[in-house]
Every structure is written in C-alpha cells, then in structure tokens.
Symmetry: C2
Subunit: 700 residues, 2 copies
C-alpha cells in the first residue's frame, strides 16, 4: 500500500463514520489542495477567519525550490462543524512527527496531544509554550500548517477509535496494568480541532526530506533572518537596579579583564515605572541617557533595553495609546492593540524617536506571552481589541506583532537589529528576534533548542544563575553554541563567576578566589567569538534557503530511528555537532551519526554510527566536526567591532574536501577551500571588512 492509498484508507475508515451524528456531517470532500508555490499547497475548510497568521502576515513569502511531484498526502477531510472545526490528516504506520514550536518536554510528537496555546510557564507536556506554532513536520517528508490564530488541538494519533470487535477471554493469571501501546505500528490520523473557528486554511509543504520541508516553510515565512555580526557576539544583561554609572564601570571591567562583550542589556530599572512600563528614562539612574548610550557605543557596546508592552498611565505613550488598546488592563497598564496598524505606528514611532535615535540597538520584549494558566497575569481570553480580535487570538498574535512594531522602526532607519522576545508564533523565521523565557531547566533548554529548528524559531538558553561552578560552566558552554550567547545578570550586581550565591553577590561579598572561574568563563566566551564566521555562514544559509542554523540531528541524518530520538544534541550549521553535558549527571550517551567525525577540540578522529558514553569529567563541551571540514576560527577580541576579529585560523579536519562558504544576503562573501592533492588553500572573498588568514592547520 503506498502512502496515498494509505491516506485514502484512513479517510474512508470506520473510525469516523461509526457514530451517526458524526457521519452525517461528513462533507462531500470539497477540500482540495491548490498549488500556491513550488511544493506548497493550500486547502480551505469551512469559512476561515479574517485574521490568521498567513492572512495577516507582515512579510511576503519567497518562492521555494522546485518540486515536480503531486501533493504527498491527500487533502484534509472536514469532520464537521459541531464545535468549531475539526479536520483529519493521514498518519501512516511508523510515521513520526515533529514541530509545534518551542516545545520543552518532548521532541517526537506522535501519540501525543498538542494544544497550541500561549503559556509562559508550561509545567507538563501538553503543547503549551510561549512560542507554540500550529505546524508539524512528518518523517515521511511533508509539513502541515493549520493557519489559525486560535487555540488548536492536534491529536497526533492519540485519539484512538473505539474497538469494534470483541476478543476472546484473556488468559487468566496476568493482569496487565497501565498497558498503553503507543500504536506506532498502526496507521492512524492526525485530528485537528479549532474549537472557536468556523474554518481554516491548511498549508502543505513538500520535501522530499524533512529539511526540505522546513526550508519551504521558512521561505514561505519570508526566509530566515541574517543577524548583524554584533548580535552573534557575547551579551550581558546588567542588574535591574544598576545606575548608568555602575553599568559604565561594569563594562569597563569587561574590557579591562578581556571578557568579550558586544551587547549590554538594561533591565527594568531604566524606566520611571515598570510593571507596567513607562518607556521613559529614570533620571536618577540615567540623568543623560543619550550620553550614556554614546559612551557605550564608542567602546563597541550595543545597548539593548528591556520592556514589556503594558503601558503605565504615567507613560508619555499612555494618552496616544489609550484608544488603541484592548478593553482589559495588565499590571494597571494598557494592552496595545498590535493588530491595529495605527497602534503599531504610534507605539513604534515613540520608540524610534526616543530610543533608537539615541543609539539603542535592540529590545528585550518581555511578558508578551501569557501566564493565565500559571502566574495569573496577562490579558484574558475575553479581552476585546479595537481591531476586532479577542484575547485568545491576540495571545497567539501578540508576540510577533510586537516584534513587527519595533522591527519596523529599525527598517525605516535602514538599521539592523538583533533582539529578544518572550513570545512568537507561525511564520517567525525572518524576524530578528530570539526567544528566551523564565524557565530554567538545562535539559529542557537544550530540548527547546533542538525543537526550535523545526518551526522557524531561534532560542536563547540564557545563563542566569547556577547551582554550582559545574552548572555555570555547563550552561555557559551550551549558550555559546546557540543563536544568542547571553548571561542575564538582572538580579546580581556582579558577574556570576565572581559569586554564585545570589544573596552574597547582592551584598558584594565576592568569592574568595573568583579568578579561576572567571578564566574558565572568559575562555568559553572566547569560543563564541571564535565561532562568529562559522555562525554567520549558518545564518546566511538560513536567510538564503531557509535551512535552520540550529537543528535536530534527525534533520541532517534521516532514516535512523535512534538518531531521530535525540533531544540532547544538535547541529550548528552543516558540520558541527554539539552534545552538551549537564551538571550533576555522571556522564551522557551520544549516538554519533554515521560517517567519520573529529573531536572539535583535539581533531582526533571519531567513528560515527555507534553510541558511546562521555564522562562528566570531560572539560570542554563535547563537539564533533564532520571529516573533511574546512572550519574558520576567528581571533578573540573584545567585540566584533574590532577589526582584529577578522584574522582567521583555518582548521582542516580530515582531508579538507568540504569547503567553507559564507554568502550573506547583503552580498558579502567568503570562500575557503583546500586542495588535498596540492595541500593548498584558496581564499575568495568580497567584504567591506575583509578577513585575513593567519594559518591553515590540519587538525586530524
């Protein structure tokens, strides 16, 4: 039975027709796949709502790579409108699915129920996330986007039909308790319900590979983001209550002590009032904001400002936003109606003139997710906004529209930004914002990083505090191999390496000898600086063809069930594999994908295709490079603004037959190739800030 027959078999099956009231609602299969772009089709069920991620998109789609075949699965079947809309899609035996946005609790989603619902603090594996996305990718090489801004429930083969035939008497003497077959071996269905929508459009993305599916989805979203180079440097967020003077001292300490840093973040204390926010400088802490920002910029620090959108009545934005806000308040502030273009303009223009024009490089957009299920704040689902959306829709829209509001200001100024945000959703790939959250479990942080690449999201597993030196080091080792390398010291006046204990740190009681830990951290932050050309190349590929720069091993090594399960290791770009260690665990196991690899740190060859144990005594984060790789290592400088950072050591792993290619959307390029026959390297580049090559070094 081929896949299309299988799909038809499922759709005609007894499951859905067994209850008369449901069977009567089965339509005459009116939905059809309509080709919208190579390898991308759309099917409409019922009457879709006016405001959805696609219909209200900000960025136009880009044409995807050619695809000659027909749709890989039959169109979705409508299963009635008794409550919202319900549709069915096929799920073959042994088919696995991935995606649904920034999931913290699981990687493989078959046999689970995923609720696409914005929740800042998910506690169980329900699908809730601060960046849920109604999009999944199948191991059979296609992807499905259900285009809704409402809460949607995906039953990923988890809703089982009732049994229809009796069986004989079960042999006595054994009582299986809690036997729950995951049912992978049987064909099933993905059932999708949107309880409060009258219809939806469904988009289908062809492969043939899962990575091709994601590329198509990301190009459909508008293509991946290419961050400014400084965004890929190291970030540090200062204590919330620090004064400008204290921050200038801290940044000087970073420069004096050779801690690289490109971005300095200010937390809530820069506002005159926070929770809710005023967006106005606290004159006691920052008597001359423009001079403060200029002083940092002159030393190659970019300044990032924390805020949330809820607008305090004492804010200069309050009166202009008063009629451009929802009917409910949060923390005593207005909730901007970011679905309304005028609200985005008023809110954005204020930020542009008051903040970007004095040199602010980016923002950290906090609290734009939803904590009604946990923390008990945020606007309720029953909120109404002047644009016509309700609170449920707004929760799914708010994060991306808040991003768009501020990004637009940078675009108008022809400036790049790289910013932080706590909520996102469908079609996010082009947005220059990286997700973070208030969660903190290290394994969950890593799993989220692995999952992010399935849904066009970037994720920062930020370092805040640590239970031990080991924990600090392991977390820092993880974050420097992520989209945004940051320590968030918002509640400690001194960097964590000087004192891990929060209370003592706040009392300025530093550890007896913090220098060795500082040195370890400096070394790890240095790795990040060395990686920047490599990261730039990965992002440039993201921008060009939608390939996520950080992604699950399942995408690069399909067809291996053991690799498909790995949720604690990830690919960075096309040749680097990271398998972090976690504090408190004695070791970790890694199933290295097939092929020849090299230890990134030593160059020693390591054979793939088998699992091995890595003990916790391993000093550096375990990292492996595909054999043949040409790999550029930048010089460590205080910031990317230092031209010396462009002096490269070129490492050759194995025979060097895999050239390194960096091609940015802005037209800058670097090609490093090695000829094993002649043992000579070639450099071709086009850049306003050219790279210099120090050495070509054979590593293994």
């Amino acid at each position: 039975m081929n896949r299309r027959q299988l799909g038809k078999g499922i759709l005609a099956g007894a499951t859905l027709a067994s209850v008369p009231s449901v069977a009567a609602q089965l339509p005459s299969s009116s939905a059809q796949w309509i080709l919208t772009s190579p390898g991308v089709w759309k099917a409409t069920l019922g009457t879709p709502e006016a405001i959805t991620p696609v219909s209200a998109r900000f960025i136009p789609p880009r044409v995807t790579a050619p695809f000659a075949g027909s749709p890989p699965i039959p169109p979705p079947i409508s299963l009635g409108q008794a409550r919202g809309c319900l549709l069915g899609l096929p799920l073959a035996a042994d088919e696995e699915i991935y995606g649904f946005g920034l999931q913290f609790f699981s990687l493989q989603q078959r046999s689970k129920r995923r609720v696409i619902r914005v929740n800042a603090d998910p506690r169980v594996d329900t699908g809730d996330s601060h960046a849920p996305v109604p999009f999944y990718v199948s191991s059979q090489g296609y992807g499905v986007l259900v285009d809704t801004a409402r809460y949607a429930t995906f039953y990923c083969g988890e809703a089982r039909p009732k049994p229809t035939e009796p069986t004989g008497v079960v042999p006595s003497g054994t009582v299986p308790l809690y036997t729950k077959s995951l049912g992978m071996e049987e064909p099933s269905q993905v059932l999708v319900e949107v309880p409060l929508a009258t219809g939806v459009d469904v988009y289908l993305f062809a492969g043939p590979s899962m990575l091709d599916v994601i590329r198509r989805y990301n190009l459909f979203s508008g293509g991946g983001v290419m961050p400014p180079e400084w965004g890929l440097g190291f970030w540090y967020r200062a204590a919330s209550n620090a004064t400008g003077q204290e921050i200038l001292s801290l940044t000087q300490e970073f420069r004096d002590r050779k801690i690289p840093c490109d971005v300095l973040g200010l937390e809530a204390g820069w506002h005159t009032h926070a929770y809710s926010c005023t967006f106005a400088w606290n004159a006691t802490r920052f008597p001359d904001p423009a001079s403060f920002v200029t002083s940092l910029s002159s030393r190659n620090f970019h300044v990032n400002l924390w805020e949330h959108a809820f607008t305090h009545p004492s804010s200069p934005l309050f009166t202009p936003m008063r009629n451009l806000a929802g009917d409910k308040g949060v923390w005593g502030g207005l909730v901007p109606d970011f679905q309304n273009p005028q609200a985005r303009k008023v809110f954005g223009d204020f930020h542009g003139k008051a903040l970007i024009d004095i040199g602010i490089s980016g923002f950290k957009l906090d609290e734009c997710d939803n904590s009604d299920y946990t923390g008990g704040w945020s606007f309720p689902e029953i909120s109404r906004f002047p644009s016509g959306v309700d609170g449920e829709q707004m929760h799914n829209l708010f994060g991306l529209r808040y991003q768009a509001t501020l990004w637009q200001q940078f675009q108008e100024r022809k400036q790049l930004t790289y910013s932080l945000v706590r909520s996102s959703g469908a079609l996010a790939a082009p947005f220059p914002f990286v997700l973070y959250s208030d969660l903190y479990d290290h394994r969950q942080f890593v799993r989220a990083l692995v999952n992010s690449g399935f849904s066009g999201l970037l994720w920062c597993p930020e370092v805040r505090d640590a239970a031990s030196e080991e924990d600090l080091i392991r977390r820092l080792q993880t974050v420097v191999f992520s989209p945004l390398a940051m320590i968030n010291g918002w509640y400690i006046p001194n960097p964590p390496w000087k004192q891990l204990d929060r209370k003592k740190n706040n009392a300025n009681e530093l550890a007896d000898d913090w220098h060795p830990l500082e040195a370890r951290c400096r070394e790890i932050i240095g790795w990040r600086m060395q990686l920047i050309p490599y990261l730039s190349a990965a992002f440039a590929t993201y921008a060009r063809d939608g390939t996520p720069p950080f992604r699950a091993l399942a995408l690069d090594f399909p067809g291996h069930p053991e690799i498909a399960k790995i949720d604690d290791a990830w690919m960075v770009g096309d040749r680097l594999l990271i398998a972090p260690l976690f504090a408190g665990e004695p070791d970790r196991t890694l199933m290295l994908p097939p092929g020849q690899w090299h230890d990134f740190w030593t160059g020693n060859p390591v054979a793939g295709g088998t699992a091995f144990v890595i003990p916790a005594t391993t000093r550096n984060i375990p990292a492996f490079v595909r054999t043949g790789s040409v790999f550029p290592i930048a010089s460590i400088t205080s910031s990317t603004g230092d031209q010396a950072s462009r002096a490269l050591d070129i490492r050759l792993f194995g025979d060097g037959r895999l050239p390194f290619i960096l091609n940015t959307p802005e037209g800058e390029s670097l090609l490093l190739s090695w000829d094993p026959a002649t043992a000579k390297g070639t450099v071709v580049q086009h850049s306003s800030r050219p790279y210099t090559i120090k050495n070509w070094t054979k590593q293994g």
Copy 2:
C-alpha cells in the same frame, strides 16, 4: 452604598462599554431572576444547551428553608455572544469568594481565574480539578451556579478593565517590580465565559449566611448523603495482585491483631484484564468469588471493587455496550455513553447481577476524570457519543453519571452503598460516593477537604505510603477525621506499618520491630471507631438540611478575616475542630475561632480568638471541641457490625449545655442531653440497634 446599589453601579460602569464592539452587544437587560424555590432564583441568558447539570439531573431538588427577601444581587448581564457566552456578576469591595469544587491549590478565589475543567492531575492553581464545580459562594451571603456541562472560565475580579486616565510622572528613583495589587479594595466583577455554549441558566442561592447558601445549594441538589454506618468504619485496600486466599489471610490478621476494619477493597487484580477492564473475575486469583465474598461478609467485612468504565473487548459487557459507547476508545476499551439511559441500564444491570447480587457493597470508580493535560489518556474532547454530547461535555458529566449508573443498582435492591469515585461535579451532594485521587501532597489533601464542603462534595485524603513513620501517622490522623478513613495498600502486600519501604514491603522484608508502629496505627484507627456516632450525626444533618459534615472554619465563624483564610483546619460536624500537623514541619499555627474551646484529648480549656503555635512534638492530631459539648465516644470494636460498638462513653466538655442530636433520614435517633443544674444526663433514642451508655464523664 448598600449591596444592591453597588451591584447596579458596577453594571453601569465604563469597563464593559469602553470598546464599541462589546458595547454594541450589550442586551437590553433581558435576564431576570425567576424564583424557583425559597431563596433560589434562576436567570436565563441566550439559549441554554439541552444537557446541563441541572437539566439532566438525576435527583429532584428539595425545598429549601424559607427566605423572605429579594435576590441579593442583580441578575447577570449578558456581555455578548461573540465567542460562546459571556456574563457578568457583581463583586463588591472586600467581597471574597469560595468554592469551584475540589480545589487543591487555594481556598480564597478572588482575584483568580478559575477554569472549570476536569483534570486528574492539576499542577498549578488554574481551577482544573478532578471534581470542578461551576458554583461559588460569596462572603456576602449568596451563591451562584452557572449551569453548564462545558468548560467555563470564571474571572473572579481577575480580568481588570484598562486604565482610562493618565497619572502624573511617578517619582523617580523607585521602580516597583511585579507590583500586583489584588484589588480587593475596589468593586469589580465576576466574568464568566463558556466559550462553546450558546447560553446558560444561572442559579442564585440566598443566605443570609454562607452556610445557609451551601445548605440551599445542597438541598437544591437533592440533599446530602447519609452513608451506611459500615461506610464510616475503617477501610483497607489490598494489593492489586493479591489472591483471594491472601486477602482472607490479611483480613484474618486484622481481626487477630485487633485492627478495626469494615471495608476491604480489591484493586485491579480481580479482573481478567485491567486497563481496560473486563468486570469478570480472574479465576486464578478468585476461583469462587461468591464464596470469597460470603466468607468476608460473615466476618463483617464489606467488599468494595475497583474498576474503571473503559470496557475491554474480552469483557462480557463489550458486545452489549458496543453501540452504547463513544466513537473513541481508551486503553483499547469502549467509553460507555453514560448520558444514555440504555447505556446506564446495560452497564448497571450487569454489575447488579454479577457483583452486587453476590454481596459486593460498593465500587471504586477509577479513571473517570481526565488526564489529557497531564498523563495523556482518556477520551478526547472531540469524542462524540450516541446521546449527542461531545467529549468536553462528557468529561464534566462522566463521573456523576457513572456514579448514578451503579447507585441505581443499589437503589433497586433497597441497599445502601458508600463508594469511591475519582470524578464528580455539580449537584453531587446526594450521591453516596467519596472522591479520592492520585495526588498525594498532604497539605493539598487537607486544603481539598476544607474546600470540598463549599460544593457538596466528600473527599478522602487516603493514606497510601509515607516517607517516614511521622508522615504515616500524620496522614492517618488526618484521614480518620475525614468522610472516609482508608489506607490504600494497592501496591504493597503488607500493611504499611509493617514496612514503609515499598520495595522491602513487596519482598516481605518486614521492619525489625513493627509492633510499636502498628500499635500507633491501631490507636488512630480506633479513634475513627470511637467517632462513628458523632460522624453519623453530622451526616444526618447533611441529609436533613444540607449542612456539610466537613467544612471550612469560614463557614462556622464568618466575619473574621484571619479565620476566613484558614485552609489547614476544618470543622467536623458542629462542635469539633481539627488542625492537623504535617510531617517535616516544626510546628503549625492555629487561629482558634472566638469562644471557649477544649482540647479534645485532655479536656483542658483553650481560649479562642487568638493564634497560637502547636509544636510538631504534639502526639495526637490537634483537635478542639466547643465548650458545652456533649460528645459520644463509641467503643472500639473490630467493625461497626459488632453490637458492642454501640456502648457509649459520653464526654462532657465544659458545662454540657449543648446536647448531642443524631436524627437519620431513616428515622433512627439519639438525643443526649446534660443538665448542668442537676448534673444528670438524659438519653432519648429510637433505633433498631439501640445504644447503651457506659459513663458520663466531665472532660474539662
């Protein structure tokens, strides 16, 4: 401003009219309170659904106590039908609200959002519960039932209107972070949304006191349950895989070692297949079920059988139920359509003939809640049932209808039962079922007990295992002062006092000297036996006028803000206050309500009205009796079936001016009164099993 004016003021406020699209939907106040019974009114908004807790009720309402006044609050106002139905009810300054069923995380619900959604394993304070009820009680002396079987969200003053006026600049230098006023000081609203209903009926219950409100609600439900006396004895559940022979040995050990026990529970192992269930005896373990049950009955053990409703294809019930089930399966079994009378009859008749007729006294109805948000099982919301309800409705209906299915069989046989169930809902007071769950936090268990009395529910904080001897003792001390005193040994072959360690218990490696711990437990279980006449009286009052036998201190002592907050102490009946200790905590504080009290154990007087600290070294559970109480203490026997249990010691606390009255619905009665002037007691009784009086003892 009086309460009615306040209500009107709120309803006319700017909050709801500030967004034009909402204001346009405001109806011309068509809803009106219609008197349905003394002190009970109904208002209809929109078009209520066909199947709701009240419209599909099993038990008719009983007339409540006279109430001459007008409705204490204005009718609910409809706030539009854009998504389901939304209504508003007043909430005055400083008004507190309670209820919403079996809540584990909080007692006072103002400023919170409560989702009425069945969830077996709530992890955060959202309202989710395995027994949520869309009913709340106000400190102002009224109650509101929103009659829906759908998920409903109650915003208890938590959804705040947006601010409307700018304020001046906030003084610089202070940045309040996370300032979130609970807003008790301002009048607000309770907003209720039922996203998938086209309308609802709302019922209003008058006081004047909160306890009166609850009485009216419980009488409206049909009145409280009066359990059979054996149900108030001690319960023990044997290991799931125990054979009949092993259970006969265990029960003989109980009798030999003078551990009182009235009910012996069998867990899953009695079925030929469990998860899903067959309801057929496993012949290896139970070759002759009828003899087995008779053997236990002859020694005054009642037998309770575990099951869940999901019907395995090898069950004799499978074929008859096949067309009386939902379209989805759970654990490979059918989901009975308990909303369908024929389904209840077929399922119930089988149980009646096969199980009740051989002497089974009750059931433990497991897994009838919902774990889709946590454990990932149960039928999905998109399920359809032949009766017309969907999975969302069925989750709210399933528990009570499952109870009704089996209770009906006992009623047809003119037999009483007292059973266990894991889900319940609105109008549950008459049902002879006590809730339990898989949760286990001792403080949460106590809070649930305190909360249960607001919503017509009974809750068993069962003892399963314990981290320490202290924990075992403290948990056992709690459960004997609850509606059902049970140790659930389903995963241990030996009683926990013989070995706390689960693995060792299963290996029959008993503790070196378990006799002292057994003696402690025997003593505590003995307390339960001594309490039975007192508990019977409290339940008889529940049956007669709806007064919950276990309840929050707020109900007996209104008007004291410090007492209103107490979620770790409760009243049993009208004169006994229990304030448990929790293992691992050094002490506890108790604000004893005003008036004169006595230590229950010593009779020593204790002055109420002040808070005091009770150290963890306190041997017995802290318990206090109102001064003046006449309190019957039964003799400790192996079971309530022993006539010797009716020999009473009468304890007099203080002057003995508060007589003890027991008046069952069946017409049995006992009146114990004491004349302080003559120092003589009087006994008046009517019973088929008369009490004898051993002593009248002055205790304090």
